[in-house]
Subunit: 360 residues, 4 copies
């Protein structure tokens, strides 16, 4: 990973700020003759789009994606040509005036201070490059990535919000699209509704945990020892705004396990391929996929934009109080769900191509 | 990160298997005129070296490092010249016979199966490339990296082992070298001693959590949005053998925080630089360092080599039982402590150079 | 260099086909607070733009560039912010109908056959991704790169066309903009006019040599041994459409020199810095700049699109004759002049940042 | 390419100075199960080795290569495992005393001054990192690369030395190993013998041109537009010590061609694959291989170490005269022949894997 590009053979470069004319991405290295569809890409973007319920920011963005290059319209649909695929999403609802008063003030918990410490300048409007709007480009790239590995099913869900965690016994993927939280446990989702309403009305915010699962990944993707599949996943998920922790399989919990509990036993499956009797490893051993589902989890911190005044400083070094009245997500973790799927898809597509390159 | 290389300007490439003639690394892009010392590099290696207490594997390796290139001996010591620094560590205590019976069997929890699934061949002796011996090369590289950023203090400690966690009120960096666990809490260390003896004698193993802290990192290192300091740290730490989870600052715990709790407030310090009144962010906001200590934590799974027979399969697809009688660490997390420091050092040195490159 | 990206710290990614909706680039890693100007970028693009004389293709493109990200408009002008700078150029005069008859036929000398051999599909309209239109994006990126190294003067000129070579005694940089060939020798330019008219009217085409010179590069940019300044320049110039040879300093001519003739002698200059008494090395020794002007030269083959029928095959394997009646450059080498400057600028900006990163 | 590494999937990192304890390389990304042989690698190294005739430096180096990792010895030979292959060559005949007098003086035409300008320090013994000894590591890597693409035949030859050029009508690959110049024209080789003896006895040196040809490369390797096969070849060949010009196919000569002369016509071959009726393109169109032989050529400047005193300066800025009495090659171009083959092999192996990665 390097600055605004990630991936090695399936490479994604994104650009754009929250309040500039547009944002987008260039997907380079995509195989040719991959069938894609603008509607499908748009569908993933719509899932991430703000303003879809009272629980996400009320900024209204169409997030309408245009493809600028790298594809051809054939009689039976759109295909990739092997050349770079550029996609563009225009910003339409920017309301830059909302941000004038924080131009010189550093919002606690935001990247305002660090961008300015680094660059000596920052685009303060809507968080500039550090805005979660950048993730729209990731989702567009992820939609292409999925088509590169069509046999892999990638799904994510919100598994905790603040003090409310799902009951894994209730896990139902079909529930994920039935509630505004992408929560796989209908009962927990119902509880979250009142809980998040309370937080929203108080002008506060709350953290969340997201789990992303890829089924159908064959054994053998990944590589020792710095190109490990889990190392790349960790970087990819940690690069999502507000993420502070990443887990593979049992994650931080492995610290409490014994060797007997942790090592997933193996048997031969009915179809003649090995099966694992458990998946503490989250589908990855030695940085290489095992054939079991690849399972990752990450924690998203609460939005730092809150109504309660917080101590801060301004550019001149004056001590100030900052409270944010603009439109914001009470739980940004919700919209991280489609982003997580996109990042998983991009990392897997890249590792698929890298594996094919080295091993054939 | 790509296969066996990591970093962009300060680049580390490692090579070598557990039971080959030697392992080592090439450190490319190191600034010239950096004072280094063979003794100092060796001292870090000695800290990681096996066989130093009954709690680490009894394999005896000198881990004596040789520098092959990239330095000059001046009248007053060794300095780097800006060209690639190759370092070599010979393997001396290999006992390949120990491994003959697992040649065709996949040890559960190990990378045996995945390497073979990927490559169709694997060096089974001692885990081959997936052996923790590879990390000796990281420690050597880390010793150079520290000299590139001499004002940064990097220290790691073991903060939990199985069910035993330290009491943070007892944290004392000076204790870390007073017990065989690199534990900063003397009292917890005493408890661990009996606890781990029990596990060791039972032929079992246990997981652990390590925390690594870098003090003295100025605000401004890191970069949006895929070159984030935390994204690179996540990949670097996840690439260490047996690591399954990585946290920055409050880590997975942020999922339970409110915006008020999470956003670290700022004031002006007495010396005229901003100070943070808390460090939930672990010293990183928007992927860029804040000037507060950079704090990362990761979980190491228990060694998969245990005495208890575990269900597995062999290369031919036969169902077998595997138990490991060789020399192994009852808690590999212990030796991950110096490795964590090395990886932190390498990532920071790289980001320091990258920052200097872009911003001057 | 990798697929559609080049550079390491100053990284340029381009996208777009000849007949798609738009082409453009993303410049990542540019330092912050660099003053740029849209007018200046446009001026470089206008220099490369087709249709400016009867000696370049009559395709009419405004090549109007838009900046989508990575800059801020301050009171006194536009500055970079350190985040990726995306630039977009829309295609307006596409006339795709011109190309329908070569959809299934491979034009000799073009990339038609190789793209199809590689990808199994190709955008045949106007050469698709292999069109020289892609170079507009390079010129836009080069305009930014120049601002990163403001003390370096980069100029290129056409030094031969077919059998007509300039007389170096007549070299006058001011002449370059006085003739439609970017030729520094007014007398040679006059001869070229009639010469190229003859070629153009015959529906033929001709090759050319371009020289690009960078003055003001300090000693010390570049790096051993695969990151050599000349190695990167060679790749950058060879990547320009239709280029088949690249020279540094005396270039291919060094094969005829003796050691006495070749080794540029040194003396101390009046200002206390070393001077070279000759510049056979073209300003680069051991892959590192010497402080003398960096001089590169490259040959551009004649446009393959000619009126004379040429033997070829079609996609089905039938033997056919191909002649091209569309709008084309009788000497593409002419428009390579501003592209050469852009590539030199991008490579030098990258090496400047890399040098600053490693050495400070 | 980046500093001391080149390639993307087949990646070569080299290290080592002329007078350090050893030099070597790490080849990462090599496919598994590739049959290699230490004898074969050694044979290529022996071809490059100094001291084989009176026309190359009399330094005596065994250049005995050791493999440290990445391979396994099976019953029927050595195979790669997919992990990094480290190879080591010890320096044995160093005679550092020869170089003491040039410690503070910059030899004209050498990299002495530029290394010191860049790094503020240089290993002056034998040229340090800028020594041609580094190329031994390339040859070792190239020997592995050839095994990755066994159907490709790669051969190089010296085609001119000073004023003496071969007659292409006499080209006979079998002659290459029959004379000390790797010259394919027996008659020209005979002339070179007396010619170079004269130069050698005069303590002078002379330049040369080398041509390298790869037969059996299928159509489709390479990639638009910065990952072009010819762009990577240009960088790889330009990175060889003393190279100042690189040509593909007709090279610099295309500047004099008309479109009719240049565009290689196509017909269907008897075996049903397309054939080219000429190969001005040197086997590459649009950066992608055509299936015709890949032909590259490059010029090597004369050794700068000559007996005739040349004006220079020393570190303190004093004006001095430098003449070199050490052991040197009167025509370094000779030993560039096996190096050229190695670089061609590495670039092709990398492009083969990259092509397989993207396209399958």
């Amino acid at each position: 990973m390097s600055h605004n590009t990630f991936g090695h053979l399936f490479r994604v470069t994104t650009f754009g700020e929250s309040h500039g004319p547009a944002l987008g991405c260039v997907v380079d290295g995509c195989p040719p003759n991959v069938r894609i569809s603008l509607e499908q890409i748009q569908a993933y973007l719509d899932k991430r789009k703000p303003g879809q319920s009272r629980f996400t920011t009320q900024r209204r963005e169409d997030d309408a994606v245009k493809i600028l290059s790298g594809t051809m319209e054939l009689a039976d649909g759109l295909v990739t040509t092997g050349t770079p695929i550029a996609m563009l999403i225009e910003n339409t609802d920017q309301r830059s005036k909302d941000y004038s008063e924080i131009e010189a003030r550093y919002r606690p918990g935001h990247a305002d201070y660090t961008y300015e410490a680094k660059y000596g300048i920052r685009d303060h409007r809507g968080g500039g490059r550090s805005s979660a709007r950048e993730t729209a480009a990731r989702v567009a790239a992820g939609a292409i990535a999925r088509r590169v590995i069509p046999n892999v099913t990638i799904r994510a869900a919100l598994v905790s919000m603040g003090e409310i965690a799902i009951d894994r016994a209730n896990w139902n993927w079909d529930e994920v699209d039935n509630n505004p939280f992408f929560c796989p446990d209908a009962k927990a989702a119902a509880t979250m509704e009142g809980y998040l309403d309370g937080i929203r009305k108080a002008g506060s915010s709350i953290g969340a945990t997201i789990e992303v699962v890829a089924e159908g990944v064959p054994a053998g993707w990944g590589a020792p020892v710095y190109g490990k599949l889990d190392a790349d996943l960790a970087a990819a998920l940690m690069s999502i705004n507000a993420v502070k922790g990443v887990e593979i399989g049992d994650g931080m919990g492995v610290a409490r396990l014994t060797g007997e509990q942790n090592a997933d036993e193996m048997r031969m499956g009915n179809d003649g391929t090995p099966v694992f009797l458990a998946n503490h490893a989250g589908g990855i051993l030695g940085g290489i996929s095992t054939g079991a589902p690849v399972v990752a989890r990450f924690a998203v911190k609460p939005t730092s934009s809150i109504l309660t005044p917080r101590k801060s400083i301004d550019r001149a070094g004056n001590e100030v109080e900052v409270s944010t009245k603009g439109r914001h997500d009470p739980c940004v973790g919700i919209r991280a769900v489609p982003i997580a799927e996109a990042m998983m898809a991009c990392v897997l597509a890249d590792h698929y191509l890298r594996h094919r390159g080295q091993v054939g």
